[in-house]
């Protein structure tokens, strides 16, 4: 970590988004993570995505559990709502927040420990229910806060800093999300913002639970030789199935898409991110093929990245539950509260 606060400074030629805000206006507090931590890059990517999308910070809620990853919400969007919950329980809090205020733009930040160990059940059900949430897993394969024990995403055969080999099987959050019936599953790398930022934007725009697994190396406990989550390993072994291209709103209407070669994702402001296919045999709309592809490449020791599975037509949590279109928060107390008689009626039905 560093002890010097990043100074607030204006300079000539600084760019502003349509809201008149600079990218610095989307930052948060000073990071206390280790210098070189991948999580700080994820933070920077979030800052950039929100700034580029010109989202008002107060429209956003950021939530997390416990772990190095879960400190991230403190480092971006100072003006947003936030909730730092119990270990592994971020999805429950997110469900509650979105139930009450469905027009919030929600970001949940979790880690491989928070989501794949203690919070595995929560993770699974958030995906299943298709809560309208960008669910980022900052995945580094170790428990950083407790000094580098293997986590549930550590690959079998990879070595700890002390040279001990991991023998347990790894959970792949992307494959898990697809098999749980998730509507959006993507993977990226903290060291590749050109891919990460558009995936964050697509995830924010996606109406449902967008799982984004980000390989985010632990520079202190898992960046050595023998690690499969280091900067060097990830760089050497990651393989993109598609590459993002931004299309501005004005062009979006005109732009024609090559169905076989491109995958358009519509954003809130009607602009479109076009994911260009890099692998000709990869179809992110085909769940079975996607799982097969992931499995084949896992066996080859490859880290597959990109938008790996995408189904924008799956109904999200509110649609599934048939809740009111108006956020519950905005509904008058009189309408929201059935009253003693109403409650009596309802209970009667259930007897």
């Amino acid at each position: 970590m560093s002890f010097i606060t990043k100074p607030k400074v204006q300079w000539s030629g600084q760019r502003r988004n349509p809201l008149g805000l600079t990218i610095r206006d989307y930052e948060g507090g000073m990071s206390t993570l280790c210098a070189g931590c991948g999580h700080d890059s994820v933070t920077a990517a979030l800052v950039q995505a929100f700034w580029e999308l010109a989202i008002k910070p107060e429209q956003v809620i950021k939530m997390s559990g416990i772990g190095c990853s879960s400190k991230t919400p403190a480092y971006f969007l100072n003006g947003a709502h936030g909730f730092n919950s119990v270990h592994g329980r971020m999805p429950s809090v997110a469900t509650g927040a979105l139930a009450a205020q469905r027009d919030l733009i929600a970001v949940g930040i979790s880690g491989d420990g928070d989501s794949l160990s203690i919070g595995m059940g929560q993770f699974a059900h958030a995906v299943r229910r298709n809560i309208n949430l960008l669910y980022i897993i900052e995945n580094n394969g170790v428990y950083g806060l407790t000094k580098g024990q293997f986590s549930a995403s550590a690959d079998p055969g990879s070595k700890s800093k002390a040279g001990i080999e991991n023998r347990q099987q790894a959970i792949d959050p992307v494959a898990t999300a697809i098999s749980l019936g998730g509507s959006f599953a993507a993977r990226s790398f903290s060291g590749d913002k050109a891919q990460l930022v558009p995936l964050i934007k697509a995830g924010l725009a996606h109406p449902g639970c967008a799982v984004l697994d980000v390989i985010s190396p632990c520079v202190t406990f898992n960046d050595h030789e023998g690690s499969t989550k280091s900067y060097a390993w990830t760089r050497e072994h990651h393989e993109s199935v598609n590459s993002p291209d931004l299309v501005e709103p004005a062009d979006a209407i005109e732009a024609s898409y090559d169905e076989g070669q491109e995958l358009p994702v519509k954003l809130h402001d009607d602009s479109v991110i076009r994911f260009r296919k890099l692998e000709s045999d990869y179809d992110p709309g085909d769940r079975a093929r996607a799982l097969e592809y992931l499995e084949r490449h896992r066996a080859e020791g490859k880290v597959v990245t990109g938008l790996l599975y995408f189904d924008p037509n799956q109904p999200e949590f509110h649609q599934l539950s048939g809740t009111a279109l108006q956020p519950l928060r905005d509904i008058d107390f009189e309408r929201l509260n059935p009253g003693a008689d109403g409650l009596e009626q309802m209970q009667k039905k259930m007897r």
Binding site: P7, G13, D40, G191, V219
Partner: protein, 603 residues
């Protein structure tokens, strides 16, 4: 793309904008740091090394450093570099012990210098410690040249001049006052080993309009008039004064007029304000004293009735301006402005009636001597020019630099070495890392605005002609202003072989200076591809060698780097380091002129 060459002297020197802009390459960030530590004497000596007159220049320097200051690009106003220089001069202790020793045994070389102004004094400053015998011939009864008689005492007090000129004269210079040189030929006959001409540009430009001769009694040439005021030959002026011209001399003339009893002073400018030659701060100071600056008035005629000047008629101009240039102009009307006196401050030029044209010193079509820009030698070997005498009016700091360079030439020349054999500038780097989170420089960004210099109240400043207007910075102002310096001499030095491309530096940089990129076809294209496009093409971009993991390049736009050190602080592998760059400027003393010694070999 080709990686940036940082091994030569240029790159890191250029990053220090102020030092790069200073003709004498004064180590500005270093002396500001010393002031911050309360080491005023050390700060003064760092200054004196290159600019020789910190007390004088701390008041009247033309400050090319300030418009260049990086601070202007992250904040509206530059660091008050010039006034901080004065702080060091005001608070220093006795420095005489720190001046170079003057050898008692001389080297047998005699140098004649014409004019006791800043250029000649700079030559003496560099040559006296090497054992030279320097003789200055000065036309007036006091040394100092234009610093003495063209800059009014309310801006530059005489005691400051006396002190700093004294340091040099007391090195044993043979200063001959009241000794105008009448003939270069005669001077050469005296057998000097070299002659340096630092006689300035003493001839004020004339304005030949109708009525000039008839009104002569009340029409003055600016620099001559200022000289006459400085020596108390002129002690009054009319109530209504017109100053023609809007350069720095005009500013001195209008403010001096107010101190001699003028009540209504107008500075008449031919063009709009953006074309004024005077520095902004001199204009501000004059306007603070209620001087009226009137634009778009072109002088037409001096109006004289019965032998008495009544005023001037002007043509009121209208200009077409596109892209900061005047493309067309026309006269709109004529107007008469009353005046008791008119002062002409429209420029000055060199004059060498005392140099014979047949002794081998060539003069160009404008009757200026032909002088080499690097060696300051004229076409007659052994005769050197510097200061305003060399290339026409510039400023004190340029004259000092001319003096340093001419001293090197003289040193070479008298020892039969080619004058072109000069050492290059070098840059030395040394890390400022003290511990994991400790840097031996103050790297916190101070958001404060530039401190305002306190002035003597208007009601008091006109009572005495030599009341210094500026009071100098207070301790509190100094403490704040020094922290505004961005420490541009603490360089961000990159080691590509250590980089693991984690993006930590890019993410933490408060001004988006850094990018890791696959590169681009050329620099222009690359500038557009950066995290924040590098639009300021006056500022260099640094391009690293290929990085180990991906073969991409680390690119840094130097434009608004705060030198806060956060990139180095955040780097997990110390691929970035903060290193102090020291520009090693060679002076005459660094040039080895001894004949080749035969090295003894064998037993």
């Amino acid at each position: 793309m080709k990686p940036t060459e940082t091994g030569d002297s240029e790159y890191f020197h250029r990053v220090v904008d102020c030092q790069w802009a200073c003709p004498a390459h004064t180590d500005i960030p270093e002396y500001i740091r010393l002031i911050a530590q309360g080491r005023f004497t050390d700060a003064y000596m760092v200054n004196r090394e290159s600019n020789i007159f910190p007390g004088i220049l701390g008041r009247v320097c033309d400050r090319p450093c300030e418009p260049a200051c990086r601070r202007t690009r992250v904040d509206e106003k530059p660091v008050a570099i010039c006034r901080l220089k004065r702080v060091a001069a005001d608070h220093k202790e006795d420095i005489r012990e720190r001046l170079p020793n003057i050898p008692e045994r001389k080297n047998g070389k005699r140098i004649a210098l014409v004019g006791a102004g800043c250029a000649s004094l700079a030559v003496c400053n560099d040559l006296m410690p090497l054992g030279y015998e320097c003789t200055i011939f000065e036309r007036l009864s006091v040394p100092g040249g234009l610093m003495r008689y063209n800059i009014p005492a309310f801006r530059l007090p005489a005691q400051v001049l006396d002190e700093e000129i004294g340091y040099i004269v007391d090195m044993g210079v043979d200063l001959r006052l009241n000794s105008p040189v009448e003939s270069m030929k005669a001077l050469l006959d005296e057998g000097f080993d070299a002659v340096f001409v630092g006689s300035g540009a003493p001839k004020g430009k004339e304005l030949n309009l109708p009525g000039r001769e008839e009104g002569d009694a009340n029409i003055h040439i600016g620099i001559e008039w200022l000289e006459s005021v400085a020596f108390k030959h002129t002690q009054q002026i009319g109530k209504r004064v017109l100053i023609i011209g809007v350069g720095n001399t005009a500013m001195d003339c209008c403010r001096t007029s107010l101190r001699l009893g003028a009540k209504d002073v107008k500075v008449m400018a031919r063009k709009p304000r953006q074309f004024f030659k005077a520095s902004d701060w001199e204009l501000e100071d004059a306007e603070e004293e209620q001087v009226e600056i009137i634009i778009n008035h072109s002088p037409k005629e001096f109006v004289v009735e019965n032998g008495q000047l009544k005023g001037m008629t002007f043509e009121v101009m209208e200009y077409d301006i596109t892209d900061g240039r005047i493309t067309d102009s026309r006269v709109v009307e004529e107007t008469f402005i009353e005046a008791d006196d008119v002062i002409l401050a429209i420029g000055q030029e060199t004059a060498f009636p005392w140099i014979e044209r047949d002794i081998g010193i060539e003069f160009n079509e404008w009757d200026e001597p032909v002088v080499d820009r690097e060696t300051y030698q004229s076409t007659l070997p052994g005769i050197f020019f510097g200061g305003d005498a060399a290339f026409g009016p510039e400023n004190i700091i340029w004259a000092v630099e001319h003096g340093h360079q001419a001293a090197i030439s003289i040193h070479n020349h008298v020892h039969d070495k080619p004058v072109t054999e000069r050492l290059p500038r070098m840059v030395k780097l040394s890390t400022r890392k003290m511990g994991i989170h400790e840097w031996s420089y103050s790297n916190d960004f101070e958001p404060a605005a530039r401190r305002q210099m306190e002035h003597v109240p208007l009601t008091e400043r006109f009572r005495e002609i030599d009341t210094e207007v500026e009071l100098g910075f207070t301790a509190e102002q100094t403490a704040c202003e020094v922290e505004r310096c961005l420490n541009c001499d603490i360089q961000t030095v990159f080691f590509d072989e250590l980089c693991i491309e984690c993006d930590a530096c890019i993410d933490i940089c408060p001004t988006q200076c850094l990018t890791i990129t696959p590169g681009a076809g050329d620099e222009d294209a690359l500038r557009q591809k950066l995290t924040a496009p590098a639009e300021n093409t006056d500022q260099p971009i640094y391009i690293s060698d290929q990085l180990k993991q991906t073969g991409r390049l680390m690119v840094k736009d130097e434009n608004v780097c705060l030198h806060c050190g956060l990139c180095a602080e955040r780097c997990p592998t110390a691929a970035w380091d903060m290193q102090k760059s020291l520009v090693d400027i060679p002076y005459a003393r660094d040039h080895d002129v001894s004949p080749c010694r035969q090295r003894q070999t064998g037993s």
